[in-house]
Amino acid sequence: MAQPRIALEQVSLHYLSPQGETQALHDLSLAVEPGEFVSIVGPSGSGKSTILSLIAGILEPTRGRVLLDGQPVTGPSRRVGYMLQRDYLFEWRTVRENGLIGPEIQGIDLTRARQRVDQLLEQTGLSSFAAAYPDQLSGGMRQRAALVRTLAIDPDLLLLDEPFSALDFQTRLTLADEIHRILKQAGKTALLVTHDLSEAIALSDRVVVLSRRPGRVKSVHEIRFDLGRRPTPFEARERPEYSAYFQRIWQELEVQGR
């Protein structure tokens, strides 16, 4: 069997603070295969974002192991890109310079990086804004620029922490389609954390439902559509299977909400 891109093996995580100890994750196991798009949904406080921080190497598990391509995660890896809810662009850098921050940090050859960033700007429709500053961009464009920044280091794995939640509905649908297309074309693996169940189903190959705190995997749902090629996230929302999945997973979330 092929090596999973990410594997969490019985991971527990405790947060310590002056107020005491909180268990965010309990005995959580999860694997994501190369090229897969997996979403994590669950009630707030179920430790969804914590999972991403663990894989990004920003947090260490209290117990258990986090593996990236079979190797334990010991710190941030250049094979991993991390995208947050808001863009957090650097206002004093142009869009292109924002895109180059990752390569600068990782000492990647800047001539090549510049070519790659320009190509990504092209793909995201930002070419004419390469020399603009973030405050000249709309919310959707800013988040696209953040995507360019994340992809500039050419990561194998993308961690997406509610990257669409700060956008208006229309932009959200367009951008979801765009990100999905770019990631699938490049064969990237993606792990998306979201509150939005419809978004999770439309984008993913699998949806993982977490329990309430401390988070465990409650159930996993394979998302499959009949008839030919995989529909784009936008098309997926129109399919009959879509509502069936929505009903099923929604009920699970509802049940544990009570």
Partner: protein, 264 residues
């Protein structure tokens, strides 16, 4: 519509400017007339025409230039040294957060302490020449440290998270996010500091110096030459205005070059 609006705005601006000039002129005229008619004692108040004469006399003998140059040089050197040292300490406090926690009460006390009280100590430790610099730096450095360090702390934590996720070192985070992100704070600190340094220099000169405008003011007071005191104060006012404008201009320039919002 817009034309009328623009015209009205320009008229308003002209009006404000005229009023500002008028206040100056009226003050000077009343001052001159009051002293001339002995409504007030010119020995105590001096008068604008005397100040003008004194200015010309000092300028002709070259002593005006010497005193102005001394004060200016001390201010600029103290300003640069205070900013540099303050920036260094602020970076150290950011780098070692525990150090910042440990030193916090000391910074609070030093910040609250009127630095002028340290004058005699500097005089004894550093001598008449260097105590002026000591005073200038002492008065500016604590504010610099406190303002910059809190500015560093206001940098968006998620921008730092983005850096960490890329695997950035602490040094890279400092250079690429903390420092550029705090440039508006640095500019605000410059503005505060240029004024504070000048205060430090004048106080330092009061206490010990043999040259400079502070010295001239004290000397004039001691020999009861009010026109000398008044002249020095007028020059000092002009110098502070010029220095402040220079820093404002520098702020504009840096903001435009580095694309930062101008903070007022």
């Amino acid at each position: 519509m817009w034309q009328t609006y623009k015209r009205r705005m320009r008229r308003h601006r002209l009006l404000v400017g005229a009023a500002q000039l008028l206040i100056l002129v009226i003050t000077l005229v009343i001052w001159e007339v009051a002293a001339d008619r002995y409504w007030v004692n010119p020995m105590l108040t001096s008068r604008p025409s005397d100040i003008w004469q004194t200015l010309l006399r000092l300028g002709a003998s070259g002593s005006l230039q010497r005193h102005v140059a001394t004060t200016l040089w001390e201010t600029l050197a103290g300003f640069v040294a205070g900013m540099g040292l303050g920036l260094g300490v602020a970076v150290a406090l950011w780098w070692w957060p525990t150090l910042a926690r440990v030193l916090d009460p000391y910074l609070v006390v030093l910040n609250a302490l009127p630095k002028i009280a340290l004058g005699p100590i500097f005089y004894i430790w550093l001598g008449d020449r260097w105590s002026v610099y000591g005073m200038a730096i002492a008065i500016a450095i604590i504010v610099t440290v406190v303002m910059l360090h809190s500015g560093f702390g206001e940098v968006e934590p998620n921008q730092i998270l983005v850096m960490r996720a890329f695997g950035a070192t602490r040094w890279q985070i400092l250079r690429k996010v903390i420092l550029p992100g705090s440039l508006p704070t640095l500019m605000a600190t410059l503005k505060v500091n240029i004024g504070l340094t000048l205060v430090g220099v004048i106080v330092g000169e009061f206490l010990s110096a043999r040259a400079g405008l502070g010295y001239l003011i004290i000397y004039g007071g001691q020999v009861f030459q009010m026109e000398l005191v008044m002249t020095s104060v007028v020059i000092l006012a002009a110098i502070s205005a010029v220095l402040y404008l220079a820093v404002t201009w520098l702020e504009r320039l840096v903001s435009r070059l580095l694309h930062l919002p101008v903070r007022n």
